[in-house]
Each structure stands twice: as structure tokens, then as C-alpha cells.
Amino acid sequence: MKARAARQSAARPAHGLGSAVWLQGLACGAVVALATPTAVLSGLLLAPGIGALLLERRAGRPAARVTLLCGVAAAAAPLTALWQAGLGVGGAMAAASEPAVLAGCWAAQAAGWLLAQLAPVLLRLAFDLHAAAIAARLRTERARYETEWGIPPATGP
């Protein structure tokens, strides 16, 4: 029961964030209405990140944020080119349809997602290796005391 309640609470936005979501939606709507080509290109290039943002349930959506940021980094160049060329929705669609641009953006987002997934794992591995090294040093030290002073070996695990 407790676990389910925790999950539901994590899935539901907090009451204080409700207005922020509306504001974000309003901002997005304004961007779509006022800068439609940019919104289209951004939407297409950042689709994996936006999807991750919508799908991730973890608090703070760390993987989605990293994914989205990596996508933004990859999309910066096409968007700049779009703004400088002054293209409309068709130009945005054309830019988005370039495989290199789209694949690069999406690959960057995939790399970001992968980075967000691997970083904790690698860090934990590093932490565990460090702890194991300390434990080994302590056990060596203990064994020396056992040998020198006749102290009985540890009985625990």
C-alpha cells in the first residue's frame, strides 16, 4: 500500500507545480504560435528528449533532462541555420528531413540518455571498488594484529 501510494504521488505533479505546467504549456503554445518553424524543427529534432520527458517517472526526470540537453546541444546548429536563413515551416521541415541533422540530434539524445543511465552505474562501481580496497587494507591490518597479539579472528560475515 505504501509503495503504491509513493508511486502515485511520484506520478502526479505536486499541487504547487500545477500552475508551472500550465505556464509551460502556455509558453509552448506561444512559441508554436509565434515561432512555428522553430517549434516544428525543435519538436522534430528534440522528439526523443520530449518523449523521455513525458515518459520518465523519476523525480526530477534526470535522464530526460540530460537527453533533452544533449538534443538541444545537437540542435543548436540547425536552429541557428534556420533563424539565419529565415525559413518558414517548409524550410524547417526540410532541415528536419535531412538525415544527418535528424540522426545527429537523435544520436546525441541517445548518447545523453546513455550517459544519464551509465554515469550512476559507473560511479557506483568506482565507489564499491574503493570500499573494497579499504576493506582489504583493514583486513590485512586486522590479520597482522591477530598474528602478533593472538586476537581471535572475526566471527561475523
Partner: protein, 667 residues
Amino acid sequence: MAAISSPDDAQNLIAGTYGVDVARPLPGAGGGLAAFAVTDRSAGRSGLMAVQSAPGAPPRAMALNALAGWTDDGLLVPLAHGPGHGARGEAAWFVVSAAPPGPSLAAALRPWSEPELLEFVLRPAAAVLVALDRQRVTHRAIRIDNIFRAGMAAPVVLGTAWSAPPAQYQPALFEPPYSAMCLPSGRGDGTIADDVYALGVTLVVLALGRLPLEGLDPVAILRRKLALGSYVALVGDERLPPAIGDLVRGMLAEDPDHRPPPVLLADPAAARARRVAARPPRRGQRPLELSGDRVWDVRTLAHAVATDPDEGGRLLRSGTVDRWLRRNLGDPIMATRLEEVTRLHDIDGLADTVRADGLMAMRAVAVLDPLAPLCWRGVALWPDGLGPALVSADAMGGEAGDLLAERLGDMVASEAAGHWAAMRPERSDPVALRLAARQRRVMVHLRGWGGGLARLRYALNPLLACGSPIVAGRTVARLQDLLAALEAAATRPELRRGQPVDREIAAFIAARNDQRFEAELVGMADAASPEQAVLMQLRILAGLQRRVDGRPLPGLAGWLAEQAAPSLAGWRNRPRREALERALGEVARSGQLTPMVGLLDNAAARAADTRGFHAAGAAVQRIDAELTALAGGAPVRAEAARRIGHEAALGIAMMAVTVAVVAAVLA
């Protein structure tokens, strides 16, 4: 000059000079003890003998010391003494002296004429007694089978009397009644007057040409002497030469103070003229029944109370003795003094009734007959005979020996000698005896292995060999002999299972070492473990080794190292312990005990070891806590990795965005 020797097993040498030939016994020469021919290996003197002490009868150390350098004739004086081995290989103490010049007077007993007695017996014997008295030594073995003569016209020579406690082998006939009633071993050195008495009996025997009272047992002889007086009991109606009769009458006086001194005896005419009025004991109108015997006078009453103190005490408490003294003997003064004794019994208020009754009977005997010895619960002895009496009780063994030892121990614990002397101050030195009694009681009550009757036994008998089974087969009478004997004992595997110092050896060391090791001896008894006791023993033996000659004792050192090895387990630091074990083995092989003490008895190092152990324990506890924390820290690490990983990834992504935006703007 009398000298003490060390044992020499190979040659049985005494003082390194006198070789005892145990294959050549000299029957009848030792005054009741075994005697053997001796060869003087340095000067080549002949005509020497060695008298072997019997077990349980130590030699007279004081007399041997006092007679060192004696040069007068007429006595078989000690030349040397020391340990050796008897005919059966048994360990024994030997006293070397000149051999008798001829057969003893008992060999061909015949009536002697008055001139013969005066010229060849009395004068030479009196001269010897004068010289002995000058040295404050008594002979206490003057009897016809211990007096020798070279030929018909030669003066007599007194035999040896140094290899056994004073008068231990004297028959009741030759002893004053107050000595004859004592334990044979407890007769004490006595006074020269006792020798005068024995010489008087000898004169009677020689004058008569036979032993008087022959066929009577010692108790009957004693009772006859007490009842009739010694002179009447011995001479009776026999006719003695007039001069001898007069002399002997004085010499056999019951009161030692009434006997002529040896100086006077050297001049028989003067001695004969000395008359002492000795009144016979007052006889009662009717006898007093005590233990089935009829008592007619106070002297026999005192003897009866001494012999049966329980019955005597009952009669004293019931007032029967008091009534008999007043109504039948007409001696109210004596009765009043006895009343005082029973009153003291009530004042003492001892919880131990046996001891209280013993005290009362002893005081009663002292009041009834001030000449009597100390009579304690059926045991009679003179206070200076306590040492040999303790030895005889120990040697006697069995139930009788235990009973005697118990009574002697009780006597010492009660300071009976002091109380006894207080009852007869005119005949002894109460202050000195009380002091000695107190010292003996303190010695017996000393805590630990350095106290008890065993210590008193060794303290009162300077030449008593140590009775420990560990040194069995060797005569260990001095500390330097002890180390050699222990070194020899170290070769016997069955002994090495135990510790090298037992109670007997501890008491022996305590008695011979002037309280130098009191703390260790107490510590041995209080030791919490055998290893601690061994450490105490090691300290003692190391001290002895330093004190004696420092000769290496590898066997004993190895024995002690084996016994002390478990104590090394107390060292917690293993490398240090192993180093100590190696060092102990090396030192033990060198045979020096003092370095072993330094290794085993290092309090500072022990304390450091303990401190180190505690520090190690604390460190191990800290390590265990850290390991436990590491083992239980996985979730924390995982959470930290997740959090930091996400932040790092976010940081990288932000950096990428920044770089991309800057690059786009610049482009």
C-alpha cells in the same frame, strides 16, 4: 679443628680428608651408633673412626661447633663432620673422632676398688667435665659402654656423644629421673650436673661390678628413683667403698644444684666433705589413687599427673588432690598453690578445652615438682629438647608420630614453655624462655610455606638434613648442598613432572636463610597459578645460587624453564613470546638462574605487553567497526552514485549545450 665437609660420593670423604671405610665397622665404638674405621688421607693418622648419625636423630651442632679445636685428653672429641653414605649406601651424617683406645668398661664388668675408681675414673672424667663445662657443653652419654680404657693402668676416656641428640641413647638407669621421664629425643642439652649424675651412676655400677636394678624396665626404674631417691634406689643395702659412697650420694642428688660441680670432683677429698642435706619427700598418711597407681608423695603425684594429664586434671578440678594434700600430706601451702593453678585455668578461659586442660596439668606438675621437665599432655621434655623431639616425631611417622607432632605443635602454639617457666622462676629464666616460646609460636604461625612445624624443626636442628623426597638419597643439611642435590634430582624424569621446591625444601630454606626469602615463600603459598609459584621458586633458587658459589646449574635451570614455560603464555605479543622462549632456553642451557628471573620477572615489560595488547584490541575494534560500516554502506554508496552520476551527466550535457550555443553563435 672440627670442619664441615661436602659430600664426596666417590670416596666418602669427610672434610676432604677423612675417608670413611664403611666396610670396616667398629662395633661398640660409637656409643650406640654405627661406627666405621677412618683413614686420614692428608696426615696419615690412624686410629680414627666415624660415627654415623641415625635417621631422625640429628647430630649436635652446637656441641660440634663448641668443641672445634679441642685439645684436652680423656674424650673422643670431634675432628670433623659432614655428609657421606653408610654401609647400605644410605645418606647419613658422619662425625669423625679418634677411635676408642680400648674396650669399653662394660666389656669386662667387675667390682673396682676405691683407688681405681678415684684414680682412673673419677679424676679423669671430672677433668673432662670441667673442660666441657668451660665450653658450656654437656656430654650426656656417660655410661659404662661409652667409657673406654686403653689398659689396666690407664685413665678412662669418655666416648663420643655428638652424633645424636643429647642423652637420646642413655638408659634410664644412667639418667636423672627428670631426664629419664622425657622423650629420649627431648632430653635437651641439660647441664653439667646431669653428666655428674651419670658419672655417679657409673661409679656405682663399677663399684658393685654389676648393673643395679637389672631386669627392671625403664618406667619401673624411674618410679623407683622418684619414690626412693636415686641413691637409695640404686645402692639400696649394697655396701660401697666409703669414699665412693659419700661421693655418689652427692652426685646422685635429685636436685642438680645439690650435686657437686666437676671442679670439686677433681678433688675427691673435698667433694666427699661436701654434704648436702637432701630431705626425702614427705609421704602421705594414705595414698591417692590416680590411674590405678597409688601415689604417696608429691613427686610421684607430679609424675602421675604428667603421665595421665586427663585423669590428673579431673582430680585437680574436683578438689581431690587439694584434699589429699591438706589432709593426708599436711601441705596446705602446696594445696594453695594448686588452687592458684586451677584458678588460672578458669582465668585463661581458652575456648579449646584440651589446650586449657593441658596448660593446667602442666602448671600443676611444675608446682608439685619444680624439678620436673615440661609435661604437656603426656609428653615430657626439656624446652631445649624440642628440636630433636620434632625430628623424632617426623621420623616416627604413622599415627604415633602424627600424635606426637600434634602435641608438640600444640605445645608451641600455646607457648607452654613460657607458662612453664613462669611457674618455676627460681629454676629457669622465665623471660628468656617466654621470649623463645613466643618466637617459636610466631615461626609456626608464619603464613606460607616458610612457616609451620617443619620450619621450626629445621631452625632448631642446624644439622638436620632436608627431608624432602626430591633430595632423597643425599644429605642436604646446608644450603649449598641443596643446589647440588636439586641439580642431581633434575636428571630424574619422574621428579621433573613436579616443581623443584616442595614444602619441606621451602621450610628448610626458610630456616637456613635468615628470613631473606620470606616474601617469596609467602608468595609461593599465595600464588594464583603454578607458574607464579615456579617464578617464586626461581627467585629463591637464583638468590641461593648467587649467594653460594654461582656454579652453573643447567639441569635445575632446564627443570625450572620447563615449569615456567606455561607462564610465557601470559605474554600476549607473539613475537616477543617466541623471542623469550628462545632466550629462556639459551639461558637455561648456561645454567644461570638469575638471568632467567630477569627474563620471566620483568614487570615493566609485562605492563608494556599488556598495554600493547589493550591497544591492539582497541585497534581491532575500530577495524571491525569500519568493516561493518563498509559492509552496510552499499545503499548509501548506491544513492550517492545515482545522485552524483545524474548531476555529472547533467553537468556534461549543460557543458555540451553551452559549447554548441557558443559555436552556433560564433558560426
